[in-house]
Subunit: 389 residues, 2 copies
């Protein structure tokens, strides 16, 4: 295995916040970075030229979904994910672990791996660390993830067992890797338990991965628990490697996590809520279906440079959502993806200028966080829907 | 009422085929022209910049749908359709008659107008010729249509009665028009009966509309009946005004209708079949869901210049359709709309060069027409669905 060209450089730090860049075979990722999710090799409603225009620097695709459909072997045969979806920039695949463990009653775990039934047709499949690496190598993303167990974050006893297995699986993934042009990231687990997180970070550091993720957060714990966990975990992670908080994408959480030393994020949130009619703005979410926008000639966000804000009124966008037009889903997605890429650019600039503390204070003062109870209920509905498949 | 700037110039004729242009307040429409349908002030999945890139020269919006949602008064208040949807080019609205008459059991006709129940919420509404003109003036398209009755094309007795009423309604629409910057087109009816069509064309010619449509075709009769009707109708229509065949958009029908002297078309076909996975090609429809495309690395159409053909493989597009990705609907639409705009450009060039007869022969030799029985069954399902609302 040749030495991969994955260099991580930090240019500025302010407190725990870091401004850096990560070199990949498909380009540099300026950090902190946010990756929109393109589950099935497509960021829903968008195309590669949009992602470029919206200044996306990294996108994520889901191994579980692509393994099932169209199949990793077909993607490989067609030249890999970059060629398949025609995205020329940096790309990341998860391990599929999160999806498989979300299947609850449809999966069975043992030391070697996890047996599960497809949510599409019920067919049986078996993921081992080695199998997941094989799949991710076939897909060919720039950053790939180890198979881990995303266990219930508040159950300490189970978490300890799961953590030991996750560490053994991380070693097996490391050993299974064949390709030298993919950065395999380890995943720190440990739920909300600081000592387990530190233990996990230390164990994985020994394996010298080119980057490290923090998994198993934003899965049901409170924001306060998540932030406290980051406070303990980040300092225990290698300072010279990127730190990736998986599945986090609420703007306020990103700002808070950067403040605690995180460099990378991914989440379906900006694209999913767009399809529900929620536009991200510096003041929080704007629900375009509200009657107050029926005659509103203003753009969603006055100072946004996205095509949607440059072109359409809130009244028109509301009409499209109310009428169920497909374009509405796209227009919301365009704006929200651009909102996120601008947020990350603003964060990077603030750190460069040593003004991130001010930026954070101002952002959190302006941004009205959507109701936590409502968010948790929404999340629980999604989890239940997945588990009842 | 000031004299509108609607000039129609013919530059080339070959047999009955005509190459011309129609001047509107929002630009020149080169003819023959095809208008994609943007029912609710949006060509489904596309945005104005796409329409420009795809070289669309005219788009249609539906009066019935916009009257119900978001309401013509709101569109007017927001600056009219062009401003509302941000399409800067020529636009056309139908009269809503076709939709209302499609409601079957949910509408009641008398001399003054037609009473109907909304397909959305069952609310009652009444369209008269004067009301329809009021709505179309509020919407503000460049070309607007009279209210007509789209009667069963094969029932001669009923057609005669309906025709007389349609003519009285055309006079009332003409009299009701207030704005001088919209071209009001008359609509020739008469089903498949040549003498009624000629009678209708002659009657309406007296009213001196700036353009004339042929309505009530492609609604259940055979292709042979439609072509024969055009053979009789076009020569009876004014030669110095554009001739618009409403609701026709199958490529082979357009070629045959241009051959018989038609200048304008609109149809949902290219965009609707795109959403079902059918791509238009010079050889006929390509159903991307077919297993034969699973590993096909070629573009949909080798010589097509659309973004989709320049970017994606058939294998990728098939994957997106099979997986139910929203982007698939958009990619199909982009290609099919571009296919149509290129077809019209090819037709125009052929007429200019005096080679349209050759073009027609070659096109029809290459283009495999989709099964008529299947098409009629599909149409019947849509009609039944509409009537059972």
């Amino acid at each position: 295995m040749s030495i991969p060209p994955f260099t991580f450089d930090l240019s500025h730090c302010e407190g725990h916040a870091r401004r850096g860049q990560f070199q990949t075979p498909h380009g540099v990722i300026p950090m902190p970075a946010f990756a929109p999710v393109g589950t099935l090799a497509n960021v829903k409603t968008l195309e590669p030229r949009d992602l470029t225009e919206l200044e996306c620097t990294l996108i994520l695709a889901n191994t579980y979904h692509l393994y099932l459909r169209p199949g990793h072997q077909l993607v490989k045969q067609l030249g890999g994910l970059h060629q398949f979806m025609q995205w020329p920039g940096p790309m990341l695949t998860d391990s599929g672990g999160y999806q498989v463990f979300s299947l609850a009653h449809r999966r069975k775990l043992d030391e070697d791996g996890v047996l599960f039934n497809s949510h599409i047709d019920g067919s049986r499949h078996y993921f081992t660390p080695e199998k997941v690496i094989e799949i991710e190598e076939a897909l060919g993303a720039d950053i790939i993830m180890v198979l881990d167990e995303c266990a219930e974050p508040l159950d300490r006893d189970y978490m300890q067992q799961a953590l030991a297995r996750t560490h053994r699986w991380a070693e097996r993934c490391r050993a299974a890797q064949q390709r030298g042009d993919q950065a395999l990231f380890g995943i720190v687990q440990g739920g909300i338990f600081a000592d387990l997180r530190v233990q996990s970070a230390q164990f994985l550091s020994e394996l010298d991965f080119p980057g490290y993720a923090i998994g198993g957060l934003a899965v049901g714990e409170t924001k306060e628990q998540m932030y406290a966990t980051l406070d303990e975990t980040c300092p225990a992670m290698p300072a010279n490697k990127p730190r990736y908080l998986m599945g986090v994408g609420a703007p306020e959480d990103i700002v808070e996590a950067v403040y605690r030393g995180v460099d990378m994020f991914d989440c379906v949130l900006p694209t999913r809520i767009a399809r529900n009619g929620a536009f991200l703005t510096p003041h929080g979410r704007l629900n375009i279906r509200n009657a107050q926008y029926a005659e509103d000639e203003r753009p969603i966000q006055e100072d946004c440079d996205c095509y949607v804000c440059r072109t359409f009124s809130r009244a028109y966008l509301r009409h499209l959502y109310k009428a169920g037009e497909i374009s509405a889903l796209r227009f919301g997605t365009i704006h929200n993806v651009r909102f996120m890429s601008r947020l990350m650019a603003q964060i990077r600039q603030a750190i460069e200028q040593g003004k991130f503390a001010d930026f954070r204070a101002q952002f959190l003062a302006d941004y009205q966080i959507s109701n936590q109870k409502v968010r948790h209920e929404q999340r629980q509905r999604r989890v239940n829907a997945m588990q009842s498949l």
